[in-house]
Amino acid sequence: MERFSRLFHGLDSTTATNRKLALMRDYFRDVPAADGAWAVYLLAGRRLKRLIGPSRLQDWLAETTGLPRWLITETREHVGDLAETITLLMDADTSGEPDPRALHQWIDEQLLCLRDDDEVTQRDRVVAAWRALPPDQCFLFNKLLTGGLRVGVSQTLVERALAEATALPRTVIAGRLTGQWQPDEAFYRGLFEPASHDEDASRPYPFFLAHPLEESAATLGAVDDWLVEWKWDGIRAQMLVHRDDVILWSRGEEVITAQFPELREAAVSLPAGTTLDGEIVAWRDGQVQPFFQLQRRLGRKRVGRQLLREAPVAYIAFDQLEAEDTDCRDRPQWQRRESLAATIDTTADERLMLSPLVAARDWQELDSQRAAARENRVEGLMIKHREAAYGVGRRKGAWWKWKIEPLTVDAVLIYAQPGHGRRANLYTDYTFGVWHGDELIPLTKAYSGLNDSEIRRLDHWIRRHTRERYGPVRAVEPAQVFELAFEGIQPSSRHKSGLALRFPRIARWREDLGSHDADTLAQARELADGIAG
């Protein structure tokens, strides 16, 4: 317990990735297996089944500290995290003796056992732990009680640390950490075993990345030297088809097979020993659907039947990296494409498609097709040299992405509220409005796009130009205008404006504009109509 607590606080008190990596690696190397298993489980972001609801914890905290319940709520909102709030309110009373038990034993006896207790016993045990544990350990206890750890390490970083500790490739570790497993001794020992042949075959190839095309397309030379495709608005994934299994790897080299069961089902019909590269898109009625439909499928452990029906997907393949168990990345683009076309031909499943070529006589014609890209719900064009091999990383000259310009609107800052956690003390969540008559109608929220000094300056301004406060939200004087950029806009019945924006972010603080120079709701609607039509 103490050792894990030290690891946790080591991770928490540094921002340097290499430092975090070294701390975890050293811990994993010689920790007893039963503890190591829990550490992997927790650091990789898995959590205990919720044992006690946050509202009840706050009730107990109010009773224990003698503070009014509303003040507990206010404090939690300010701090941004219940586990920390409890720790901060209790740390004057703790006796400060570190708990001597091993991590796995402590989790069993201090946390998991709560599941079978009645409420009175739960309360006694929890309050006793608050009083007994030194602040560092009390915080950890509360974190596990209320959810995950969230200590600023990604699953990928945990995988890297384990890879270093075990001297195995990260992707092998990644494979071992997917799916269902119990945090026990046997599991942790298994992580250290050499990779099997199947595991080696289950790893993705490094993704080849395109460069943004910033100069004129004409600088690329003859248009005939290039293969042009749509740049699909989905998520990039490699599809590995084995004799008895299918694995989908995301760009971030995470296994996402479980989130797309229908693609696994479809891929079984492809020849074994195939690896494809392509894009998973939301798909219905023979058409790509807006990205937010796909978003509903992401970040889930499992996908229910209803969601499968409501948000169907398809896989649009654009490259073949492996055919009949042979790496074909060195072959020229046009050959790989022919091979890919033949592979897709072997299946009748409509959820697997070949990304079509966009034909054009010259760059100008392509440019006008690109301009129409938004109507086709794609992000622009991909331009690939006919002779290009499938490289590693982002290499200039072989693949180019030619994106459409973002849409923009000038909107007025109307509400602000403090951020959470990292930004708990700054007004960083902004709501922007556009004019409808002489009223400002909220159009969108946006969080990113300002630099730190702008954020601080705007925070300062917000505090001095507040008109009204509703809980944490401040309504501010309508004076500051921002140019917002976004990738899409569409009708929405859930928003007062009747519009929803995709990827809204602040492009510029328009200090040169007054609030009446901002756009109107009618202008924003025209943008949406322009896309739908």
């Binding site: 928490d12 008190s13 540094t14 921002t15 500290t65 503070l67 009014p68 509303w70 003040l71 206010e74 404090t75 300010h78 701090v79 941004g80 995290d81 920390e84 709030t85 901060l88 309110l89 740390d91 004057a92 600023g152 959470h420 956690g421 990292r422 930004r423 708990a424 003390n425 700054l426 505090r463 001095r464 406060r469």
Partner: protein, 334 residues
């Protein structure tokens, strides 16, 4: 009850009976200034009144030819129909509470204050009163300060650990008050010289001239930087973080000393390696203790978490309400 003795106006807190302002945010005829931080001591007023030990700091901030009359500690001065006296607030050197009495009632405007140990300034004095005007910068129960001595020790330990690794330690903190408080505490822990960013040099000199004993200091600019300040402790204002100025330090470990560092999210957001909890404002228990000790029935709150404090005090039986002011809400702004 009659008219309030002190009221907020568009120029600042105003005492009509004595015809003077306290920490006005716009130029006025007569300004009693509680302390030299920029959000309390603003330029442009005709005549200022302040505690003697505050005057050199005020002149540094407002200009050498500013007209400032000293009001000696505890001495009662007549302003119109009132008696006015200053009493130490324990915030920074020369920081004062303003006691105003008109023969019927006593008000105290406390400015910024703290109760924790601070060898670099006069300790807080409890002044009995009917109405107490309080800051509310850290008025939430999560804000409870560790013993300042423990924090000084932690800063020293951090410095020594970095020194053992051949690294420079850069501690960010406010150049007026906090920097000198840390230097005064470090004096007991080390005979070594601490290096100062240019912004802290003249202020530290004024503290020394006032007789405050501190660890030896030297300007960063006067030290050869070829070794990247390996093993040294450097104190700098937060604005230097991420600036060109930082380039002279090789692999520096950075830290921030502030009450806000009590919250993990703040420590992480600011991107410093370490956060030390050290504040020149009262924490939650000290706010409540102070109100009780003054015997005040009525508490008026200024900048900070005023809403929560007022609601809580009303539940405790105080007459409490917020006063609108233009002081910095994040406190410690300098």
């Amino acid at each position: 009850m009659g008219q309030d003795l002190i009221e907020p106006t568009e120029h600042g807190l105003y005492c009509a009976a004595g015809d003077f302002y306290i920490d006005p945010w716009r130029p006025v005829e007569r300004a009693v200034v509680t302390h030299a931080h920029a959000d309390h001591a603003r330029p442009g007023s005709h005549r200022y009144y302040a505690a003697p030990s505050s005057i050199p700091l005020l002149k540094k901030r407002l200009g050498a030819d500013t007209r400032i009359e000293p009001l000696h500690w505890q001495h009662r001065y007549r302003f119109g129909d009132c008696e006015v006296s200053l009493h130490p607030a324990g915030h920074i050197l020369g920081s004062a509470q303003v006691r105003v009495g008109d023969g019927h009632r006593v008000w105290v405007a406390s400015g910024d204050f703290k109760r924790g140990d601070d060898p670099s300034c006069e300790p807080f004095e409890v002044v009995p009163c009917d109405t107490f005007i309080s800051e509310a910068t850290f008025a939430l129960p999560a804000y409870r300060w560790p013993a300042p001595g423990d924090t000084a020790q932690a800063i020293h330990d951090w410095w020594q650990t970095n020194a053992a690794e051949g690294r420079a330690s850069v501690l960010f903190t406010y150049a007026l008050g906090k920097a000198q408080r840390i230097l005064a505490a470090l004096r007991w822990l080390t005979p070594d010289t601490v290096y100062l960013h240019g912004a802290a040099v003249p202020l530290t000199r004024i503290y020394r001239q006032a007789g405050i004993a501190m660890a030896p200091t030297a300007p960063v600019s006067e030290r050869d930087s070829s070794d990247g300040f390996a093993g040294e402790l450097v104190i700098a204002p937060p604005s230097a973080h991420g600036s060109q100025w930082m380039r002279r330090f090789r692999r520096p470990s950075t830290a921030f000393a502030s009450g806000w560092m009590r919250i993990r999210g703040n420590r992480r957001r600011r991107g410093f390696d370490r956060g030390f909890v050290l504040s020149d404002h009262a924490d939650w228990p000290d706010l409540l203790r102070t109100f009780a000790e003054t015997g005040a029935q009525r508490i008026l709150t200024t900048h900070g978490r005023a809403d929560e404090l007022v609601a809580y005090l009303r539940e405790q039986g105080y007459r409490a309400s917020p006063l609108a002011t233009a002081y910095s809400e994040t406190g410690e702004a300098d």
